[in-house]
């Protein structure tokens, strides 16, 4: 196989970056919260592909699992359960179902084509020649010189957990607690 027929990997990186930019633009310009969330998921997946091309497969996996898998699910859960996108819905134009998911699915399809192309052409490209950093290096660094930062991050997550529980508690429960306390004082 001659090297002229294969697409250079740099071009694929720029394509993924372009998809990330377009999807982020649509997130910011979106009218409806759920549609913006769809574009945000596509943007995160494109950024994960960029991470892979930059030689960080571990970070790419974390991006897909934690960002697109956990944080975005939290967003969707909040929007669906508590009706957060409700006041936007009134002003949004009524569109048919096809046009809503056409944009995100087209961008995601382009990313999927990139992925299939990479998997098919691993031998020709010699992808292992990327100066990629293994998860082992990251882990030994994380629990070596950066141990204090990991501890601080754990404090941050604990604080987020406690504060999230405290803020999301329903109002009525709080009032009943104060009433109980007033009753005890009397």
């Amino acid at each position: 196989m001659s090297s002229t027929t294969i697409i250079p990997l740099e071009l694929l990186f720029y394509l993924a970056g372009f998809i990330a930019i377009v999807a982020s633009f649509k997130v910011v310009m979106g009218k409806h919260a759920v549609h913006s969330l769809l574009y945000l998921i596509v943007s995160l997946l494109a950024v994960a592909v960029c991470f892979y091309f930059m030689g960080a497969p571990f970070a790419a996996g974390l991006e897909v699992i934690v960002y697109a898998g956990a944080i975005l699910v939290l967003f969707v859960f909040a929007v669906m359960m508590f009706g957060l996108g409700k006041d936007e819905e009134k002003h949004a134009p009524q569109t048919s179902g096809l046009t809503i998911w056409f944009g995100p699915s087209a961008l995601a399809l382009a990313l999927l084509c990139e992925l299939i192309y990479i998997i098919n052409s691993v031998e020709q490209h010699n992808v292992t020649a990327i100066n990629h950093i293994s998860p082992k290096q990251v882990g030994s660094l994380l629990y070596g010189p950066y141990l204090l930062a990991v501890e601080i991050a754990s404090f941050l997550l604990l604080a987020g957990l406690v504060a999230g529980y405290h803020f999301a508690k329903p109002d009525g429960q709080k009032h009943s607690n104060t009433i109980d306390k007033i009753g005890e004082n009397q």
Binding site: A33, L62, L84, A153, A168
Partner: protein
């Protein structure tokens, strides 16, 4: 062998950061402000990982993991606050938060 120039990675990070920044500044809905913050944090992650891969150091990915934990905590807190806001004001307009001004 793939060799990406650091300038191009930084340009991509800058464009994404600017898009997120404009979203934070221009949008009125607090939910969209949170989403734009996510885009901004992603751009910073791209910059860190790009620099780490060009200089072949793992520190960039360590910083990315710390940014990830920050984003998780921020989203949990922000969405909890949004739920309170929606219950109290029946709206997510950031301008209505003016009432908090002391």
């Amino acid at each position: 062998m793939i060799s990406l120039p650091l300038e191009h990675i930084f340009i991509l990070a800058c464009i994404l950061f600017m898009i997120g920044f404009v979203g934070v500044i221009a949008r009125k809905n607090t939910l969209f402000i949170l989403m734009s913050l996510e885009v901004m944090l992603n751009a910073v992650g791209i910059a860190f990982i790009g620099a780490g891969s060009v200089w072949e150091q793992a520190d960039g990915q360590v910083m990315f993991i710390l940014i990830l934990t920050l984003a998780a905590a921020e989203v949990a807190l922000g969405l909890a606050l949004l739920i309170r806001l929606q219950r109290r004001f029946q709206s997510l307009d950031i301008d209505k938060l003016n009432r908090l001004r002391g």
